[in-house]
Symmetry: C2
Subunit: 227 residues, 2 copies
């Protein structure tokens, strides 16, 4: 099968020297890729410069992206030619629009003006004591996958922080329905450490608990290749 | 001599999954460290996890920091026990205070309230179309160096983007005076590429032009060890 995997975290530029990054090392995506590669599948890994990556292999293609815009452009053709997407990348929810001083905010009569502005400076000045950064929502790539390819098997990821299991499952099932995903890997940052990565493979009826990155990879392989 | 070098870029957390990063690979700091190590000096490198680093050596100590707060804590004792500081790290100018929806901003009667708020959520919700992030200035570490150790030789760095040489030199000399620095390495992002790194070693009277990272390291070594 042709497996498309995303890993790492996107960075949205504030200016030419600063950006907002979603932290993700890429270790989980690497583990998943390595398992499918070892089983003889063709893997395309869409990842970032900073993320860890598998060793080069004949059946592995790696493509690097930076921000949501470049991810979107890269994904559309790839989604159309793969059988499975395992979308473990941490994608930025918001991207910077305009950064200004607190004074400019106080002197404004209509803040919506800031949503249509953009910074002309290459490096935003650091003169004022406080600054205000306006951000807008990025396109939700996961919601476009089944439009691009209704036959692809879609595995999404949901990372929350310090929530109850009930809330985690509920949010995962909302994402499952909204994005027509086949499976959501739901996890809580507080359950992830060097040697542990508790996660739940959530579908409409069930939630399967696994406890390490290797177990997540193994469980995904079994669901995808043996179901 | 005991040489303290900083490299890489700091990251200021927005929440537990997102942060604002000053991009810096650490290549220049690595080059400078390697030259001083090769000449038999004792080097302490304060850097970040993501930055490239020299190979381990007997006369090299490496300390990793994350944000401006941890840099500040780490630097004070180190500055007191070194002869030279080469401060090439890209340090965040601002750190997040509070992130909220555009609606909350529109409904506010006094925006200064946002400067005293903080997010209670571990991961800020991504429900609204626009968000607003309030940031405050970080302490300027370079301005504290000579207070901590009046005898240290201080080399600062100034990176601007797309400015004239006159502006670059003026900003460098302002930093020289304000921070009681002995030398400022002034450079423009538009003059930096894979094989080129144009920079000017600026003091009160002169500006010495160099064109690569190796030349920057060599010129710094000559100024520091032969003057």
């Amino acid at each position: 099968m042709k497996i498309l995997i995303t890993s790492g975290g996107t960075t949205e530029k504030i200016d030419s020297v600063r950006g907002i990054t979603n932290h993700s090392t890429g270790h989980l995506g690497k583990k998943i890729a390595e398992l499918f590669l070892a089983k003889g599948h063709q893997v395309t890994l869409v990842t970032t410069k900073a993320a860890v990556k598998p060793e080069p292999k004949e059946n592995l293609k790696i493509t690097e992206i930076t921000n949501v815009e470049s991810l979107l452009e890269t994904m559309e053709p790839l989604v159309k030619e793969h059988d499975v997407l395992i979308h473990s990348m941490a994608v930025s929810d918001y991207t910077p629009v305009y950064m200004t001083s607190f004074n400019e905010l106080e002197n404004s009569e209509d803040f919506t003006e800031f949503l249509n502005k953009s910074n002309s400076e290459s490096k935003i000045s650091s003169a004022s004591d406080y600054q205000v950064l306006f951000l807008k929502k990025t396109p939700k790539i996961i919601s476009l996958i089944k439009q691009w390819n209704p036959n692809i098997l879609l595995v999404g990821f949901k990372l929350l922080v310090n929530v109850s299991k009930e809330e985690l499952f509920e949010v995962a099932r909302t994402s499952l329905k909204r994005n027509q995903a086949d499976l959501i890997v739901a996890n809580d940052l507080s359950d992830i450490s060097a040697n542990q990565h508790i996660a739940y493979l959530v579908d409409e009826q069930s939630q399967e608990k696994v406890s390490t990155k290797s177990e997540i990879a193994q469980a995904l392989f079994e669901r995808i290749c043996h179901d």
